[in-house]
Symmetry: C2
Subunit: 371 residues, 2 copies
């Protein structure tokens, strides 16, 4: 096995990363890459490896997933999480799941169980479980279920936003002169430096050339209890399909940003479909992001569209395997890490939009070739 054909890439959210916090985000992306690469070196599957990478991201308090998840309006943690296996094309997801430290491991379990075939009487196994039913499934599989999970950071963010929200609501019901300071009712959450990170994710290639993708999110702050976000939705948060022929490359993609916009454009699948049938990864990612996300007819009434995509493409040719990575985002920043099996440590960095352009209206693009 050529170790260089192993590949992992992760991201800690497309959003707004405060410059002061960069070292924290980079450290967690590095740890996630190292964890996944250790498994890949042991010939573990792509699906297991992306799950492990996302579990590391979930365990970090600085990300909006698992432990650091944003709270609902009622102050609870409700997580969305999903995996897709490029080899079997099975998808597993949980939504609005409370009390579980690593929702991604539950999504992985649901995808793995589908390999066992139907249940007695030909009943098809579920691929997506939500709410209390998802929690019951966790208990039956011996996942540790606690009454609630709150991190200090998430609780502080919750209190800050709840206060802002109450002031904003007040301003809608009160006469103008009684309204609080307009700074407190800003309608542009993207400007709240450091407070907004979205869905995290990972994509990888294992020793057999299989691809997989995984994503996890605590959802938007002060979300409605029971709100399902893109990380739980087929085609929105993650997508993976192995290479099946010379003209159909392997692809794995994960998305992040404003949830409802990722859902309405089924962004992970839409980008994957475009990448898969094109020879040019970066070119196809740029054009599909521009036309089918920023220019989408589904978002025509939305002024600013916040999204990010991290994608890999595999190509088998006579000289061996080739893995290409590309990313794009219209959010102010996106924290990314990646490495192949020949590297000792991952490359980690925060990609930022140019100061001269407007987040939500412009995008930036980057890429890397490993072979």
């Amino acid at each position: 096995m050529d170790k260089r054909s192993l590949f992992i890439a992760v991201h800690a959210g497309a959003g707004t990363h405060a410059k002061d916090n960069e070292p924290i985000y980079k450290a967690v992306c590095k740890a996630a890459c190292m964890q996944a690469m250790a498994l890949l070196q042991e010939r573990k599957s792509a699906l297991e490896s992306v799950t492990a990478a996302v579990a590391v991201l979930e365990d970090a308090e600085c990300t909006n997933a698992g432990l650091g998840s944003n709270l609902t309006m009622e102050g609870k943690v409700e997580c969305d999480s999903s995996v897709m296996d490029g080899k079997t094309l099975f998808f597993g997801a949980v939504g609005a799941l409370s009390g579980v430290k690593n929702p991604i491991k539950v999504a992985h379990r649901l995808a793995e169980e589908q390999k066992l075939g139907p249940l007695p009487l030909g009943r098809v196994r579920p691929s997506i479980l939500v709410g209390n039913g998802a929690q019951d499934f966790c208990k039956s599989c011996d996942f540790d279920v606690r009454s609630n999970m709150l991190s200090k950071t998430a609780f502080k963010t919750y209190n800050r936003y709840k206060r802002k929200y109450q002031l904003a609501e007040l301003s809608l019901t009160q006469p103008k002169k009684m309204r609080p300071n307009s700074n407190d009712t800003s309608s542009d959450w993207s400007r709240d430096e450091g407070g907004v990170q979205d869905t995290v994710g990972a994509v990888c290639v294992d020793h057999e050339g299989n691809v997989a993708a995984a994503s996890s999110s605590g959802g938007i702050w002060l979300k409605h209890s029971g709100r399902l976000g893109p990380a739980a939705i087929y085609g929105a948060g993650c997508w993976a399909q192995n290479q099946v022929s010379a003209s159909k490359a392997g692809v794995a993609a994960v998305t992040s940003g404003c949830g409802e916009h990722l859902i309405q454009t089924l962004l992970a699948k839409t980008c994957s479909d475009a990448i898969r049938s094109s020879a040019d990864l970066s070119g196809s990612l740029a054009s599909v992001f521009r036309d089918d996300f920023l220019g989408s007819e589904f978002l025509r009434n939305t002024d600013k569209k916040f999204g990010g995509v991290l994608a890999i493409k595999t190509n088998l040719d006579g000289s061996g395997r080739e893995v290409e990575l590309s990313w794009t985002h219209s959010t102010a920043s996106m924290c990314i890490g990646y490495m192949d099996g020949g590297n000792k440590s991952p490359s980690v960095f925060v990609s930022r939009l140019d100061d001269s352009v407007i987040p939500g209206k412009s995008y930036t693009l980057g890429g890397h070739m490993a072979s």
Copy 2:
């Protein structure tokens, strides 16, 4: 307004309809069409009219939606329901929702509220709510929420399947000679005449030429609590997009059948995309159903694929509006009703696969042109 340009089509599930029960299914499809047409004649929107049609189907005890919903393994009703508006492209859905008589009205409410724009602080409104959070939303909107909803029919079906399931489970854990009669552990649920109907749905065209689609389901019998089915999933259960140019026809489609297969193929969106960019409705529906459902790489390990689609296409040309209807199914049967504004009463019928072909492997196709 030319009344003939109004159009409604409904279906009471793609599954296995016992011949003895045909009059009951036809009567409920007729009532659903009449209800929707009455609203369309009052110049109500396509979205309101499909919602009303599906509410009639939900109220009937013979359908697997609303009142007649299949029960979960624990004996509870948990409904999935969604609407899509071809004009605004907004989608609203509820999943794993208990205690609400008409889940479709809640999905409709979620789609309607999106027209009001973002909440204070730029928070995007949710499009999909599940479980207890969805139930809390219903309470806050004055929907009547009961502790549980059980119909006599559903309870009888539940007991029958639960007994069969327990016998089947027993047969897996017991030595072969102790296994119960193999008739009781049949692995082919599609053969259980009259006991299996899936997701119901409606598509329509209003006086402005807008299209809309709606679907609702109680899910598979003995489903895992919290299991999300296609009727709650964007792109799987329903899809609608207005005509935007001569080459982009208006289309609305609803699907039914084995839930996980409809999800994995995002069948409503996949069919709509194909129909929308083709001049030939029936031809494109047949080829996309054959290639991307029965021949889907996502279902390559599935022996039999049970699905059904009901779709309309609108075309504006110089001589007025034209509406075309088509349906296809690989299930044994599908009960359908349709009418245009010039008809006094709807056409209702049960479409059946030829006795000579195998359900899940072959399909039948039908259509109607109204202009």
